[in-house]
């Protein structure tokens, strides 16, 4: 396989990894903020 094609696959894999990490951690942060607001304590 051409090295440039290999790099495309590698960047795709790392893009998926970091996008997933950002989405998951953001979901935790958003749920914490909402829960604190619901408890009336502010974020």
């Amino acid at each position: 396989m051409d090295p440039s094609v290999e790099w495309n696959w590698v960047m795709f894999a790392y893009g998926v990894t970091y996008a997933a990490l950002v989405l998951f951690t953001t979901s935790i942060a958003v749920r914490i903020t909402r829960a604190r607001r619901k408890l009336g304590e502010g974020a």
């Binding site: 894999a13 997933a20 998951f24 408890l39 304590e41």
Partner: protein, 245 residues
Amino acid sequence: MTSPEQKPSPVWPWIVMAAAGLVTFVAAMTVPPDAVQGQLSRILYVHVPAAWLAYFAFGVTMFSSSMYLWKKDIRWDRMAHASAEVGVFFTALLIGLGMIWGKSTWGVWWTWDARLTLTAIMFFVYLGYLALRRTTDDLEVRAKRAAILGVLAIVQVPLVHFSVVWWRSLHQPPSIIKPEGPDMDASMIATLLIAVVSFTVMYVAMMIKRIELARLEDSILIAEQSSAGPTAGDAVAAPDLGGGV
């Protein structure tokens, strides 16, 4: 005196996670490519740490579930819940990365290989664990049901790990932990070790925030239950069957 909810939510776990992610990326992009797989071998440095954390997270769920069944302390249940959710995330990531690696090397996104199939089953069982927790609002009943499944479900981890040894598999067998020693270059092993440690640090940081969330969710549930008004059934008096006695 401030309650735990009034304390500001710590920011440092997010910073630690970002730093660990950066360390993994720099290490994985600077190591020399593999002689056979070329640049594609770099997927190893996120695929293997994701697999390790899936196993580790479900191990923590099993341990915390056992501790809950023994001590009946709701904090163990929160830890089991948090670790199961983080474990499901890393299992999904593991499967996604495996599919990308599979397509680029085997030519297919998916095959019903023992390793792949058992990993998918493990993913759905732990999704079931998270769904089971939503079947009741009773904290103790929820914790007990989840703890029993959390202990039983761990049997899948050795099944998934040793599937490449026990059955003929398209997936490659272990490259590092095997009787004859690792057959990888020292620079690749060092990079993989950096990635595994960095991802483990990310897991710890995620757990700190996810346990904080579990505590807040429980506080909301308790507050809602204690402030709930009378239900429709409360207006119905029980019939007097004793003939006025």
